[in-house]
Symmetry: C2
Subunit: 287 residues, 2 copies
Amino acid sequence: MKPKQARIALVQMRCGAKPEENFSRAIAFIRDAAKQRAQISQSEDHKNFELAEEIPGRSTSAFGDVARENGIVIIASLFERRSAGVYHNTAVIINADGKLLGKYRKMHIPDDPLYHEKFYFTPGDLGFQAWPTAHGKIGVCVCWDQWYPEAARLTALRGAEILFYPTAIGWHPSEKKQFGAAQYSAWETIQRSHAIANGCYVAAANRVGHEVPPLVASGGGDGIEFWGQSFVATPSGEIIAKGSVDREEIVMADVEWGRVNEHRTHWPFLRDRRVDAYAGLEKRMID
Amino acid sequence: MKPKQARIALVQMRCGAKPEENFSRAIAFIRDAAKQRAQISQSEDHKNFELAEEIPGRSTSAFGDVARENGIVIIASLFERRSAGVYHNTAVIINADGKLLGKYRKMHIPDDPLYHEKFYFTPGDLGFQAWPTAHGKIGVCVCWDQWYPEAARLTALRGAEILFYPTAIGWHPSEKKQFGAAQYSAWETIQRSHAIANGCYVAAANRVGHEVPPLVASGGGDGIEFWGQSFVATPSGEIIAKGSVDREEIVMADVEWGRVNEHRTHWPFLRDRRVDAYAGLEKRMID
């Protein structure tokens, strides 16, 4: 039977230099969310755990235990070691019975100052997907994917009624004064727009805290100030839950799956798509 | 030589029951904008002019005269009579020399209460385009198109550095209290998101004023309150000019074409698109 609603928990946490400690703290946050009757729990982008490992593996096994014990769905980002020299930024989807339901390998890979992702990560090859979990049909993209309407659309077309974005985005402290407000606003706006365009929920769990990696500090850099503010938006783009800018916390929201259909009936964007006229979207430029 | 900047004027006006009067008032607004050194002038969605006519025709000729006299580019919506029984909601692009540079036939056609567009309009068959005008490379979509990331993306991929959206959107007065703020916010958000996703400017000229068509009034309806608030957003989605909610006015903004490339260099979303993985966007649903 299709569930009518779900309680979503976004784990907004800091990450320190010790991967094992980050991991056990993430598990503790998820247990805490379950106590608050969360049904789908998402922890943010853990790429800096640098616990590259196979999937399934030790982490999915530990998450699986927590999921089964608490009857919750868990979405978690991992650093996947697929083969020698082939690593992915991968999100795993673990169902409420503890089984690994699927994985999403980050499709769009950035390469920004202090984010050397094109060096570490092979672009995903599993495409955009949706999974029918015990608590609702969900889609998962990761971080940089959030800037791509194509990713959101394809995930929604596969039936996802909520799009999860585990993410780790922040300010370069030296840019914050001049560009910070616009950068944050763009990030929130593009994700709200995915909810609006697709008539679905969007949930973004973002990292929080100011991190200065030792190598960066020795080079005189000032690291990244992860801006938190994890949020859940409704199909009309309204934000119904939002985390703080500087604290660790669990951001909770109750979603009503019936609103997806109701909203799409009143805002029938999917009805009117010109699927006959979208050739060219698979080109780099049309020139 | 490619222009470095352009002054944009959005004509935010009311429309009355007399088509000829609306038309001459639009011309007067455009002349006024030209006096304020506007170089690209966009008037809002004139579908209710119900001046169905051939293109080129009387209107494009009149707009052409104004464009040539003032050296400005004009974008105007018209009710195109293409053939017996085949009508389009069409925007014309008139270059600064007065010549008709191109036309865009609205691709996405809605059918909402009080907007019987699927009855009047044949869906466009010219696709998404961009035009090199004397004052910059522009793209034009119309109204309901604004809800579709595909339309914005395809227009940008063709080289448009600003997307114009002539539009006529408003509140049903009976819904305004409960849904009004969210509806307006969704409209602004989705269009800002096109600027962000594509690293280009967006300019939306919206109608203003409360209109109650005679037929609606006799049925006890209370018409539509067009919400004005025409705006121009930068490639990062920041709004740099915005009209009022209830007054006719010309909304002016200066755009710097160099910001498009600068922005796309800092936010290199177009660089990382997964053009190999977007199959499915041309499907209704992937099920």
